[in-house]
């Protein structure tokens, strides 16, 4: 089959899943709970891939090999171990109460969950604003990944703009049709696809270099600097290393498109299974991603700056060769679209449930919000392309911004004494501190700005909650124990 055939087949498979999910929804109870949360019944396999596929964006497939190309195996130590521990732990500690509390309070989105728990619409609006501010730039990175992948594969026959539009159109179509169930099951296809392609690429590259021993020997001989953790590099300096670890550990569970998937789990056992599988899958993805960057530096030396972000497609073309090179494009599309669909659905749900006045028109109107989010993301993508903004810098700022929401989300789920005033103070003061530290108006003593700003957000949440009137007992009991308590 030709490259075009594989890409058409991939898009057709996603659309078919969307149609299947819509038929299943129509046969069942239907309604918003079914559309946005798959009836709170995602099975273990679908839940695991929904979490894994949503979490892994082109940042892992292209950004990590690109960073490893310059900084070596230290990139693995900086990211993979702490993620493999931190993500499942935060999913477990926050996911179980989020799922249960969401069902008790009838919440369908993360902002709605926290707003109902704290009985405050202002908290819902503040969270919606923060989630949107941080998520839309992140969506643009996905569109850029799709555009670049299709432009490169078609050798310019398809512009990056057209490629991004096609990928967004397909993602919107199946999400529009089948909601959460469609995005979860397309993530099964997408997650399996990019995992297999990344692994196969590393195996083929190592074989081309003469096997594992020969590849390691060549690395030691030609680029020994890539085989060690060099603490003199700014990103590996101990204080930067530690604060980066904190940021990437806490940020993922605060992505609204991740938290909403935890709320859609079919039960505690489905969550437990996902938490057990997660570290293994992360290892299987990150080890090849770093290996491709490090060994790619031997095969394609001399890529300066951001040019190294193109090392993954180069290695795929060299190692897999011929018609199979399209697999690299499919892997990037899969990683980007599996994140994009979840972001579209989650922002669409928050826009319709948390911000605009309630409407009685049913799913037809709910789906229009989804289209509005897609259109907004594409407009920002066009602006970013025109202004030549560094989107990875934007994404990094967004990841730090999510961390400022961690105290609000975690304390709302775990601490009965937490108040709406504490939440608002935490969001405002944490975000303001992050902006001041990032802008250099406040000193950060060698740590990344995210660490001191997080401490401010946490202190504000706890301090203001204790200083304000406690929430009504009956409402807290309803949130934590249910109506029967």
């Amino acid at each position: 089959m030709s490259g075009v055939g594989w890409i058409v087949l991939y898009f057709a498979a996603l659309l078919a899943i969307g149609v299947w999910a819509e038929r299943r929804r129509a046969r069942g109870a239907g309604g918003a709970v079914e559309y946005y949360l798959a009836g709170r019944g995602l099975a273990p396999v679908a839940l695991f891939f929904a979490l894994f596929g949503t979490n892994c964006s082109p940042f892992v497939l292209m950004g990590i090999p690109g960073q490893s190309y310059h900084d070596g195996v230290g990139i693995f130590g900086l990211n993979a171990p702490i993620l493999a521990l931190g993500i499942p732990l935060t999913f477990w500690w926050l996911g179980v109460p989020a799922r249960a509390m969401g069902a008790r309070l009838g919440a369908l989105s993360p902002a709605e969950l926290v707003a109902k728990r704290l009985a405050s619409r202002a908290v819902g609006w503040a969270l919606f604003a923060a989630f949107t501010l941080f998520t839309v730039p992140y969506m643009v990175t996905g569109l850029q990944g799709c555009g670049l992948a299709l432009e490169r594969w078609s050798q310019g026959a398809l512009s990056a703009r057209a490629g991004a539009a096609v990928a967004l159109g397909v993602a919107l179509a199946y999400t529009f049709l089948g909601g959460m169930r469609a995005t979860a099951w397309t993530n099964v296809v997408q997650g399996a696809l990019f995992l297999v392609v990344v692994l196969a690429t590393l195996v083929a590259l190592v074989a081309e270099l003469g096997g594992p021993q020969a590849a390691c020997a060549r690395l030691a001989a030609e680029r020994p600097d890539l085989a060690v953790l060099d603490r003199t590099r700014p990103r590996f300096e101990p204080r930067a290393f530690g604060s980066y670890g904190l940021a990437i550990t806490l940020t993922v569970v605060c992505f609204p498109h991740m938290l909403v998937r935890l709320m859609a789990a079919g039960g505690t056992q489905a969550l437990r299974t996902s938490c057990r599988l997660y570290p293994l899958a992360l290892t299987l993805l990150w080890l090849p991603a770093v290996g491709i960057g490090v060994l790619g530096a031997l095969e394609f030396p001399g890529l300066a700056g951001n040019a190294s972000d193109g090392i993954f497609p180069r290695v795929v073309e060299r190692a897999l060769g011929g018609e199979r090179a399209v697999l690299g494009t499919l892997a990037v599309l899969a990683a980007a679209m599996s994140t994009l669909d979840a972001q579209l659905l989650t922002l669409g749900s928050m826009l319709s449930r948390d911000v605009l006045p309630r409407h009685a028109a049913g799913l037809g109107v709910e789906r229009l919000f989804l289209l509005a989010v897609g259109a907004a993301a594409f407009l920002l993508y066009e602006a970013v392309e025109r202004w030549q903004v560094s989107i990875f810098a934007l994404a990094q700022l967004a990841f730090s911004g999510y961390v400022m929401l961690f105290p609000t989300i975690a304390l709302a789920l775990l601490w009965r004494r937490f108040t709406a005033a504490g939440a608002l103070a935490s969001i405002v003061l944490g975000s303001a501190s992050l902006a001041a530290l990032t802008g250099g108006w406040l000193p950060s003593a060698g740590f990344l700005p995210v660490l001191p700003a997080f401490l401010v957000a946490l202190a504000a949440a706890v301090g203001v909650s204790l200083a304000s009137a406690p929430p009504p007992r009956a409402h807290v009991a309803l949130a934590f124990e249910g109506a029967e308590s």
Partner: protein
């Protein structure tokens, strides 16, 4: 209140202690130069991080199993 409240409390303390030990081993402050050299040709730094992950997987399995026990 369940009968195994004391055991649950001990588990929480142990879980906290285990997390602190794992984080210290991750930050690895006593080896500023990292793990140079190689084990069977594989960079020592990579071997150390994979070994850490092995420990972390064990810890995670224990935490999840402990919750399973508590919920019974």
């Amino acid at each position: 209140m369940t009968g195994n409240g004391g055991r649950g409390g001990s588990r929480r303390w142990l879980a906290g202690l285990g997390l602190v030990v794992l984080l210290l081993l991750h930050l690895d402050p006593w080896r500023p130069e990292g793990w140079p050299g190689a084990v069977a040709g594989v960079p020592g730094e990579l071997v150390y991080r994979l070994a850490w992950m092995g420990l972390a997987f064990g810890y995670l399995a224990w935490v999840l199993a402990a919750r399973e026990g508590e919920s019974r």
